[in-house]
C-alpha cells in the first residue's frame, strides 16, 4: 500500500536535489537557502511518506471519513520548528562571517591547506631526511 | 434558501476566480512595478473578496462570519503593503518613466530644492533593489 504518490515523490526528490546542490556551494547564504529547501523536502517526505491523506485529524464527531495519519504531522511540525531555529542560526553565522571577514564563504581550512602544501613539497622532494620532531614544519604560517 | 446561497456562490466564485486570473495577468503584463501594484492591489483583492463572500454563503453558521472577518482583514492589510511597495518603487526608481504622463511629486521635490536624486543614473545590472 503506497502512501506516497509519484508527484510527491518527485517533488521531494527535486527538493532534495536542489537543496543539496545549494548545500554544496561555498556561499553560506546559498547554503542557508539549500538548507531551507532541504527542510521543506524532509518535512514533505515525513508527511507524505508517513501517512495517507485524509480528513484533517480532528475529532469533531461529525464525520467518520478516514482521517490523515496525525503522527507524521506532529513529527513534521516538530521538524519545521527545529529547521526554523537552525535556519536563523545559520543566517546569523553567515552574518558573523561576513562581518568578520567581509564575505560569507566557507573557505578552506588553513591547517589542512598547510599540510597539503607540505605534502606536495615532500612528494616532489624525495629526500627523506626530515627532522622527526618537526614532522610538519610550520614556517609558512 | 440553499438555492439562493448556491446561486450566490455560483456567481461569485467564477467571478472572483476570473478577477484573480486577470490580476495575475496584469501582474505579468503591466510594464513597471507601480502599475503592477494596481493589478495586485485591486483585481486581486476584489477577486479574493468575491470568493470569500461566496464561500461564506456556503459555510454553515458560525464559520461564515469568520470568513467575512478574513475579508475585512484583507481589506485592511492589503493597502499597507501596496503603499510601502509603491513608495519603495518610486524611491528606488522602479517606475517606467517612458510611460509617465506627469510626475507632480518630482515637480514638488524640485520646488523644495531637493530634486529627485540619481534620476537617469544607470542602476547597472543589479536589478535587485
Amino acid at each position: 500500500m503506497n502512501t506516497v504518490d509519484v508527484t510527491m515523490a518527485v517533488v521531494v526528490g527535486a527538493l532534495f536535489a536542489a537543496g543539496f546542490y545549494l548545500m554544496l556551494q561555498r556561499s553560506l547564504m546559498r547554503i542557508v537557502l539549500g538548507f531551507v529547501l532541504l527542510g521543506h523536502g524532509t518535512n514533505l517526505l515525513l508527511l507524505t511518506a508517513g501517512g495517507t491523506p485524509g480528513r484533517p485529524p480532528l475529532v469533531d464527531g461529525k464525520s467518520d471519513a478516514r482521517i490523515a495519519d496525525p503522527l507524521p504531522q506532529a513529527m513534521a511540525l516538530t521538524a519545521i520548528v527545529i529547521t526554523f531555529g537552525l535556519t536563523a542560526f545559520l543566517a546569523a553565522l553567515a552574518y558573523r562571517s561576513w562581518r568578520l571577514s567581509g564575505h560569507d564563504e566557507v573557505h578552506d581550512d588553513v591547517e589542512d591547506r598547510r599540510i597539503g602544501t607540505v605534502r606536495e613539497r615532500t612528494e616532489t622532494d624525495p629526500a627523506p631526511g626530515r627532522d622527526e620532531d618537526n614532522a610538519v614544519p610550520g614556517e609558512d604560517r | 434558501m440553499t438555492t439562493v446561497l448556491n446561486a450566490v456562490t455560483a456567481i461569485l466564485f467564477p467571478a472572483g476566480a476570473v478577477f484573480c486570473l486577470l490580476g495575475a495577468l496584469g501582474l505579468l503584463r503591466f510594464p513597471d512595478t507601480a502599475s503592477r501594484l494596481h493589478a495586485a492591489a485591486k483585481a486581486q483583492t476584489l477577486g479574493l473578496l468575491l470568493i470569500l463572500v461566496g464561500a461564506a454563503a456556503q459555510t454553515p453558521g458560525r464559520h461564515a462570519p469568520v470568513l467575512l472577518l478574513v475579508a475585512l482583514f484583507q481589506l485592511f492589510t492589503a493597502p499597507i503593503s501596496s503603499q510601502i511597495i509603491g513608495r519603495t518603487a518610486y524611491r528606488t526608481h522602479g517606475l517606467d518613466r517612458d510611460l509617465l504622463f506627469g510626475d507632480e511629486l518630482a515637480n514638488r521635490l524640485e520646488r523644495d530644492g531637493t530634486p529627485l536624486p540619481g534620476r537617469g543614473c544607470p542602476q547597472g545590472d543589479d536589478a535587485e533593489r
Partner: protein, 950 residues
C-alpha cells in the same frame, strides 16, 4: 608479594615528594626497597629450591582474564635476585654518578625496579604484560631524561616504539594463547600446555615481543641508541633488567611451548644470529659503552638460544648465564660509568693507562670481563661449559652440532671483544686526561666490586649456583644420560676443548683486530628504523594531505556520495518493488508540485540573496499548500508562519550584506560533479520513498490516537500528540529553538574582534521624501525614538490598530489548539509576528516598550514553565509530563473542561515569543543602528545586555 610492589611505588612517590630535603640521601632511601626485596627473596629461597611455590591472587577484572596473580618459583626467584640485587647496587652507585635531577631519576629507577619485580612475579599473562609495558614507559622516561638533546628524544622514542610494538604483538599473542589454553594463568599453562592451530600464531607473536624487548636482531637498533641515557640507567635497564624481560618471557614459556612448531627454529635462528652479528659489531665499536651494548645484544642472543631451546641442560646453562651476565655486564657498565664520570670520555682511543691510575677499579673490572670471556673459575666459565655440553650432546635439538659450531664462534668473538674492552679501557700508557682525573671513591667502586665478586663467588661456589639454576631447569625432563651437574672440572671432555678453542680463537681475533676494518660492514639497522619512521610520516602526510583537504564542498560531496552509493547499492541490489503508486492523491497536487518545482529551480538559478529567500518562501507556501491538501491544517498553519518568520529573520540579517552572492569561481567540472551528486541523491530519495512506502504492511500505530485522544480532552489529535502524547519531543524542540536563538544573539552581538566592514562604507543617504510621512501623533509609544526618515504614518496607524487584534488571535490559537488547528507554536508565532510588526514600524525602542521583560527571560520562563509542568505531575503521583482533564462547574458558566497540558502549551507559547523577541533584539542590535547608538540606547527589549552588565 603485592606489598613489595606497593613498597616500590610508595617509596618512589615519597622520593618525588621529599627530594628537596632528602638531597643525595634519596639514593640510599631508594636502595632500601630493592634491598628489602633481596632480603625477602632470601627468606624464600630455601623453600623455592625445595619446590615450594608462593602465590598471591587478587581480583581485578576476572571476566577479562585479568586476575592479579603473583607466584614465586625458581625462575622468578632467580630473576628477582638479579632485578633487586643489581637494582640496589645501581641505586647506591648513582649516589656518586648522578648529580642533577636526582629525585626524578631515583623515583623512576625505583619505579622501574618495581615494574621488573612485578614482571618476574606475575602469574597472569596480562599482569605480566602490564608490567612489561610499565618497564617500557619507565625506560622511555629514563632514556629521554629531560629531553634536552635531540638524540635523547630520538633514542627514547625509538626504544618506546620498538618495544611497544613488540609488546602489542605479544599482547595479541598472549590473548590467542590464553584463548587456546582456556586460562590466562601462567602456572596453569605450564602444567597443561596449550596446543592447537592458534598456538603457533601466538608463539610467533609472543616471540616477536620478546625479541623486541631483548633487542634481538633485527629489532636491536634501539638498544645502542639508548646508550645516551646515563650509564647507571644503561647498566640496569639495558644490561641487567629490562632486556632480560624478553629472555624471562621466553624462559618462562619455553617449558610449555618449546615444542610448538615455529618456536625452536625462530629462537635458534634469531638468537644465534644475534649472538654472532652483535659480537661482530662490538668488535668495531670504539665507544666503550657501545661496545658493551653490542656485547649485551650478543649475550642476549645467547641467552635467548639457551633458555628458549627447551632442553634441560640448555636451560640450566641459560639460568647460569643469566646470573653471570647480570653480574658481569652490570659491573662492566658501572665501571665504564666511573671512567666516563671521571675522564669525561669513554672513547677507548682517548683512554689509556687507567689501569695504573685506578688499580682497584681495573682489577674488579678485569674480573668481570674475564667472567664475560668465560675464564675459569668464574661463573661465566660455568655457563660456557654448560651450554657447550647442552648443545654438543643435545640430541633432542636438530642439527645440534652445527649449532655448537656457531656457539663456539660466538663465544670466541665474545672473548675477543672482552679483550678489546679491557685493553681499550685500561691498558697502555697514561693519557693526559687520565692523569688529571681524580680516582673514584671507594663507595663508587664498591658496587662494581661486589658484582665482580658475585661473579667469582658464583663460579667458585658452583654447587650453590647449580642448585639455583637446576631448580628452574628441572622443569624439563632430564637428558637420558642423567642430569648434567655444574662443575669447574669435568675432566678432559670435548667440551673443555671447545672452551679452550674459544679462548684461542678469541685471542687470535683480538690480535688480528687491525685487519677487522676491512671486514664487511654489517647493514645498519639504525638507518632502517629511521627510514621506516620517515616513511610512516610520509605516508601519514600523504594520506592526510590527500583526504583532509579542508574544503567543505568537497567533504559534503564525499558525504553525499557515500550516503547515496552505500545504501543505494543495497537498495538496488535488493530490487524491491515500487508498488503501484498513484500519480497523485489529489488533483490539486500537480499544480502545487508545478509551482514548487518552478520556484525550486529558480532558487537554484538565482544569484541574488533576496530573490533567493523570496523564492524559497514561495516554495514554502507551496509546501504548506500540499500540507493543507493532504489534511494537515496545523502543519500548513505553522509552515506558513514559520516561512514568514524565516523571511523576516533572514531579511533582517541580510540588510547590510551585499545583494549578490559572492561571484562564483567554480569550475564547470566541479559544478557538474556537484550537480550529479545532488541529482543522484534526489533520485535516490524519490525511489527510496516509493519503495519504503510500498513495503508497508503493518498498520500505523497512530490509528490508536483517534481512540484515545478523548482522554486528553482534545479534539485536535495533532495538538494532543504535541502537548500530551509526545510532549517530550516538543520539549526537545523548544530547547532547540531556544538555544538557536541564544546562538543568534551570541553571533550577532556587536563588536566581534574584527569590526564590521560594510561593503563600501557609505552612509545612508535617505530619499528626500523619507521624512514626509512621519506621523504627527505618537501612535506607538516607542516609535518616537526612530529617526523621522524611517517612519510611516500609514504603517504606524495600521500597526497600532492591528497589534491588539493579532495578539488576541494568537491567544485564540493558543487556547483553541486543543480543538482545532492552532496551538502553542502557532499562537506564539502569531504573537511573534505582532512583535515583528512593532519592531518594523516602531523600531527597537518601541519593542522595548511593548515588552518590558528581557527576551531571554521570557524564553527562559517558557522553557521553565514547560519543564515544570512536566515535572509537577510527579508530585501528585503521575508520570512526568502527564496531563489530566479537570472538569469543574462554576455557577453561571456551566461545565468547564480544562486539560492541564494547556500549561505546557502556554510554556511553548511563551518560549516562542521569547525566542522571536530574542531574534529581533539580536538582529536589531547588530543591524539596526550604528554601533555608537547601540552602546547608548536604553535597551530593554532583548537579551543583548545579559551578563555584560553584571
Amino acid at each position: 608479594m603485592l606489598f613489595l610492589l606497593a613498597a616500590h611505588a610508595a617509596v618512589a612517590v615519597a622520593i618525588l615528594w621529599g627530594q628537596r630535603w632528602l638531597g643525595r640521601a634519596v639514593w640510599t632511601v631508594a636502595a632500601l626497597t630493592p634491598l628489602a626485596t633481596v632480603a625477602w627473596a632470601a627468606t624464600r629461597t630455601a623453600g623455592v629450591l625445595e619446590g615450594a611455590e608462593y602465590q598471591e591472587t587478587f581480583s581485578w577484572a576476572p571476566s577479562l582474564g585479568l586476575t592479579v596473580g603473583f607466584r614465586l618459583d625458581a625462575l622468578s626467584l632467580l630473576m628477582l635476585w638479579i632485578v633487586a640485587g643489581v637494582g640496589a647496587l645501581v641505586l647506591l652507585y648513582c649516589r656518586y654518578y648522578i648529580e642533577r635531577d636526582a629525585g626524578r631519576q631515583a623515583a623512576l629507577l625505583l619505579a622501574f625496579a618495581g615494574a621488573m619485580t612485578g614482571l618476574v612475579l606475575a602469574d597472569n599473562v596480562f599482569v605480566l604484560y602490564v608490567f612489561w609495558e610499565l618497564t617500557t614507559i619507565a625506560s622511555f622516561l629514563l632514556i629521554a631524561g629531560r629531553g634536552k638533546r635531540e638524540e635523547e628524544r630520538r633514542a627514547a622514542r625509538q626504544a618506546l616504539v620498538v618495544t611497544a610494538a613488540g609488546g602489542l604483538a605479544m599482547l595479541l599473542g598472549l590473548v590467542l594463547l590464553g584463548q587456546s589454553a582456556g586460562t590466562y594463568r601462567i602456572s596453569v599453562m605450564l602444567t597443561d600446555p596449550p596446543r592447537g592451530g592458534g598456538v603457533s600464531a601466538a608463539v610467533v607473536l609472543i616471540l616477536l615481543g620478546a625479541f623486541a624487548k631483548s633487542a634481538q636482531m633485527p629489532l636491536h637498533g634501539w638498544l645502542p641508541a639508548a646508550m645516551v641515557a646515563p650509564t647507571p640507567v644503561s647498566a640496569y635497564l639495558h644490561a641487567a633488567a629490562m632486556v632480560k624481560a624478553g629472555i624471562y618471557l621466553v624462559a618462562r614459556l619455553a617449558p610449555a611451548l618449546a615444542e610448538v612448531a615455529p618456536w625452536r627454529p625462530m629462537v635458534l635462528l634469531v638468537g644465534l644470529t644475534t649472538m654472532v652479528l652483535a659480537a661482530w659489531h662490538a668488535l668495531r665499536a670504539t665507544d666503550l659503552k657501545l661496545l658493551l651494548a653490542y656485547g649485551t645484544i650478543s649475550e642476549l642472543g645467547l641467552l635467548l638460544t639457551l633458555l628458549g631451546v627447551g632442553t634441560r641442560n640448555a636451560a640450566l646453562a641459560g639460568a647460569v648465564m643469566l646470573l653471570a651476565h647480570a653480574a658481569f655486564k652490570a659491573a662492566l657498565f658501572l665501571a665504564v660509568g666511573i671512567l666516563d664520570h671521571r675522564m669525561k670520555t669513554r672513547d677507548m682511543r682517548e683512554l689509556s693507562g687507567v689501569g695504573r691510575r685506578m688499580p682497584v677499579l681495573c682489577t674488579v673490572t678485569v674480573i668481570a670481563a674475564a667472567s664475560m670471556a668465560g675464564l675459569p673459575p668464574l661463573v661465566g666459565y660455568l655457563g660456557k661449559e654448560a651450554y657447550f655440553e647442552a648443545f654438543l650432546h643435545g640430541d633432542r635439538i636438530d642439527g645440534h652440532r652445527q649449532l655448537t659450531a656457531v656457539l663456539v664462534l660466538g663465544s670466541a668473538l665474545t672473548v675477543a671483544y672482552a679483550a678489546r674492552f679491557v685493553k681499550g679501557a685500561f691498558w697502555g700508557p697514561p693519557h693526559e686526561t687520565v692523569r688529571r682525573a681524580k680516582p673514584p671513591e671507594a663507595g663508587f667502586v664498591a658496587p662494581v666490586a661486589v658484582l665482580a665478586g658475585v661473579g667469582l663467588a658464583l663460579g667458585v661456589g658452583y654447587t650453590w649456583t647449580g642448585a639455583l639454576a637446576s631448580a628452574y631447569a628441572d622443569a624439563y625432563p632430564s637428558a637420558p644420560d642423567g642430569p648434567y651437574e655444574l662443575s669447574l672440572w669435568h675432566g678432559l671432555t670435548p667440551v673443555l676443548g671447545l672452551s679452550a678453542l674459544t679462548l684461542a680463537l678469541g685471542g687470535l681475533v683480538h690480535l688480528g683486530r687491525d685487519h677487522l676494518s676491512i671486514a664487511p660492514r654489517l647493514p645498519d639497522v639504525q638507518r632502517a628504523f629511521d627510514r621506516t619512521v620517515a616513511a610512516a610520516d610520509r605516508v601519514a602526510l600523504s594520506v592526510t594531505g590527500r583526504t583532509q583537504v579542508g574544503s567543505l564542498p568537497l567533504y559534503m560531496t564525499v558525504l553525499l556520495t557515500t550516503v547515496v552509493v552505500v545504501p543505494g547499492a543495497a537498495l538496488a541490489a535488493g530490487a524491491p518493488s515500487l508498488g503501484s503508486p498513484l500519480p497523485w492523491k489529489s488533483p490539486v497536487e500537480p499544480f502545487l508540485a508545478a509551482g514548487v518545482l518552478t520556484a525550486t529551480a529558480a532558487v537554484v538559478a538565482t544569484r541574488h540573496r533576496l530573490t533567493g529567500i523570496l523564492l524559497v518562501g514561495a516554495v514554502g507556501y507551496g509546501v504548506a499548500g500540499v500540507f493543507l491538501v493532504r489534511g494537515a491544517p496545523d502543519l500548513a498553519l505553522t509552515q506558513f508562519l514559520v516561512e514568514t518568520m524565516t523571511l523576516v529573520v533572514v531579511v533582517l540579517v541580510l540588510r547590510r550584506m551585499p545583494s549578490r552572492f559572492s561571484p562564483g569561481r567554480t569550475m564547470t567540472r566541479v559544478r557538474v560533479v556537484r550537480a550529479t551528486a545532488a541529482c543522484a541523491l534526489g533520485i535516490f530519495v524519490t525511489c527510496f520513498a516509493l519503495v519504503a512506502s510500498a513495503a508497508r504492511t503493518a498498520p500505523a500505530v497512530s490509528s490508536q490516537y483517534a481512540h484515545r485522544v478523548g482522554e486528553t480532552g482534545a479534539h485536535n489529535i495533532v495538538n494532543a500528540i504535541l502537548v500530551d502524547f509526545r510532549a517530550l519531543d516538543t520539549l526537545g524542540e523548544i530547547s532547540v529553538l531556544l538555544v538557536a536563538a541564544v546562538g543568534v544573539v551570541s553571533l550577532t552581538r556587536a563588536g566581534g574582534r574584527g569590526e564590521a566592514r560594510t561593503s563600501d562604507g557609505q552612509r545612508d543617504v535617505p530619499f528626500p521624501t523619507a521624512h514626509w510621512d512621519e506621523p504627527v501623533r505618537t501612535w506607538l509609544p516607542g516609535a518616537g525614538e526612530r529617526p523621522g526618515g524611517e517612519r510611516s504614518v500609514l504603517l504606524e496607524v495600521a500597526a497600532r490598530l492591528l497589534f491588539p487584534s493579532i495578539l488576541a488571535l494568537s491567544l485564540f490559537l493558543l487556547f483553541s489548539g486543543h480543538y482545532r488547528p492552532g496551538g502553542g507554536f502557532a499562537g506564539g508565532l502569531v504573537a511573534g509576528q505582532a512583535f515583528v510588526l512593532r519592531y518594523l514600524v516602531g523600531g527597537r525602542s518601541d519593542l522595548g516598550v511593548a515588552v518590558r521583560a528581557p527576551a531571554g527571560a521570557v524564553a527562559g520562563a517558557g522553557l521553565l514553565l514547560a519543564a515544570l509542568s512536566g515535572l509537577l505531575p510527579v508530585l501528585v503521583g503521575g508520570a512526568p509530563l502527564e496531563s489530566a482533564v479537570v472538569t469543574f462547574h462554576p455557577p453561571v458558566v456551566g461545565t468547564v473542561k480544562f486539560a492541564t497540558s494547556l500549561f505546557f502549551d502556554c510554556g511553548v507559547y511563551l518560549l516562542v515569543i521569547g525566542v522571536i523577541l530574542k531574534l529581533l533584539s539580536a538582529v536589531g542590535v547588530s543591524l539596526d543602528q550604528s554601533p555608537a547608538a547601540v552602546e547608548t540606547a536604553p535597551i530593554r527589549a532583548g537579551g543583548e545586555k545579559e551578563g555584560g552588565t553584571q
